[in-house]
């Protein structure tokens, strides 16, 4: 476990005084945090708290006030929450080929998918878990420094969650990738991340993930009465 506050490691991302307004509404206000290279930062909070807006802002898609500073030549990989693929007749091979120079066989094998059969499948016919792994294969194909992950488990069966998280952990260790992970699941945040950033339009908490076992802190993040319970597998 690496302490986000106490480590002298280099920051790969520094966000200072970030404010985002959409249609006259303040979605994020005065957000300040940093991410150390090689660590996993989980971004959590209630619906409408600004998690996905933060990720889109970090990608440069939304105008903002304040500064977002990525480390020198940081290469970003992104794994979205949803894809609009139901009406697009695109195969896994064609999708991965959009990223030039990708070794499709190796990329699929690295996320535990059988390359021959999976590459011929249509993207829209894959299960939620398979699609997530194809998206991870896409994101890590050109060896990014930072992987931005938006709700990776939202469309995955409960049985497939651990497989995705283990794949993510394996990749993080193998390639030393820094991970920013938007998640609803506090248990997964505690188990798989080093630091946590809890948002509810403002920063409610930024510090080590292990502190989220504290009921008082959880209540501050999600409101009073929140209990930490693990769904049955």
């Amino acid at each position: 476990m690496r302490d986000p506050g106490g480590s002298p490691a280099e920051s790969v991302l520094r966000v200072d005084g970030l404010t985002v307004r959409l249609d006259g509404r303040t979605i994020l206000q005065d957000i300040t945090f940093d991410v150390k290279r090689g660590t996993t930062l989980a971004i959590l909070g209630p619906n409408g708290g600004g998690k996905t807006v933060l990720l889109r802002t970090l990608l440069g898609l939304i105008p903002h006030e304040g500064t977002v500073t990525w480390g020198n030549h940081a290469k970003l990989g992104y794994v979205p929450q949803n894809l609009f693929v139901a009406d697009v007749p695109i195969t896994v091979r064609e999708f991965l080929s959009i990223k030039r120079g990708i070794d499709i066989q190796q990329s699929l094998a690295s996320v535990g998918l059988e390359p021959e059969t999976t590459s011929k499948e249509r993207l829209g016919t894959l299960s939620g878990g398979e699609l997530q792994r194809v998206l991870i294969a896409w994101a890590i194909a050109d060896r990014p420094d930072v992987l931005l992950f938006d709700e990776p488990l939202s469309n995955v069966d409960i049985g497939g969650e651990d497989l995705i998280l283990e794949t993510l952990n394996r990749i993080e260790k193998a390639f030393g990738i820094t991970v920013l992970l938007v998640s609803h699941d506090v248990h997964n945040v505690i188990a798989y991340s080093d630091a946590a950033l809890a948002l509810n339009r403002v920063v409610v908490y930024f510090g080590p993930s292990k502190n989220l076992t504290d009921p008082a802190l959880l209540a501050r993040v999600y409101g009073s009465g929140t209990l930490l319970s693990r769904h049955a597998h």
Binding site: L55, R56, L61, Y78, P80, F84, P89, E94, I98
Partner: protein
């Protein structure tokens, strides 16, 4: 083959090819009806060309491009439903166009005048269609990826705004070229039908683009050839052949579906 007919067939082949190919992107981006409405937006531009003695194609293209960019901008920047925006533009442009267009030219504008294609018209249609297909091919994967996920496209260093702008420019060009073949009333069909038919029988993007272009080309050639033999107007015949491809694709899909799901022996 007489020269005007040969010019018409060559212009039709290329216009059909480009319309079919771009149609595959327009259907994917759920802009099929936008193509249909845009064709009517061209009407005031054609009318201005006829009234002020400049090439009607230039007028049509100018208005088409303005309309396609306006549709894109309004959809992105307001909460107004796309069909409402399109509806407003459609009736406004059609009214202005009908009032401005000289009465004796209206029928040609509505249903095309492929029978009167001159060498220059053919050259323009061929050049624009080749340009549309080549540039369309270059931006194809970028348009598809930005439709699947804008964030994913941005993270892959695709300039989504620039790709969308070029795509809209190509849509305006392909509709303006298609108007010569089938007229403003039917050019939407030239874009929609081949791609819709191809979509029904395609399991990959490569096959989808290829079949869309092929169905568009064959629809145009067959329609113009039938018009030459029967003396009927070519525009509706081109669209009828395209409709035949669409019906055929539904049947082919139905026939193939049970075969795919039947248990192995």
């Amino acid at each position: 083959m007489a020269e005007p007919v040969a010019y018409a067939v060559v212009a039709g082949v290329f216009a059909g090819l480009a319309a079919g190919y771009m149609g595959s992107l327009m259907i994917t981006k759920r802009m099929a009806l936008v193509g249909d409405v845009l064709s009517h937006v061209a009407l005031p531009g054609i009318a201005l060309g006829l009234l002020l003695n400049f090439n009607p194609f230039v007028g049509a293209f100018a208005l088409l491009f303005a309309a396609v960019v306006a549709t894109w901008y309004i959809e992105r920047s307001t909460r107004l439903p796309l069909d409402a925006v399109i509806g407003v533009m459609f009736v406004f442009a059609l009214s202005v166009g009908v009032l401005l267009t000289p009465g004796n030219e209206l029928l040609e504008v509505f249903f095309g005048d492929i029978a009167n294609v001159a060498l220059l018209d053919m050259g323009v249609a061929v050049a624009i269609s080749i340009l549309v297909v080549l540039v369309g091919r270059a931006i194809y994967s970028g348009v598809i990826l930005s439709h699947i996920s804008e964030e994913l496209a941005v993270s892959a260093k695709i300039r989504v705004g620039r790709v969308t702008f070029v795509y809209l420019l190509l849509v305006a060009l392909v509709v303006a070229t298609g108007i010569k073949v089938v007229g403003t009333l039917l050019v939407g069909a030239l874009v929609i039908l081949p791609a819709a038919a191809a979509r029904n029988v395609s399991g990959s993007l490569h096959r989808y683009g290829l079949l869309s272009a092929l169905f568009g080309t064959v629809s145009s050639v067959a329609g113009i050839s039938l018009a030459n033999v029967t003396g009927l107007p070519p525009g509706p015949l081109v669209v009828l052949v395209g409709s035949g491809f669409f019906l055929g694709s539904i049947i082919a899909r139905r026939v193939a579906a049970p075969a795919r799901h039947s248990p192995s022996p």
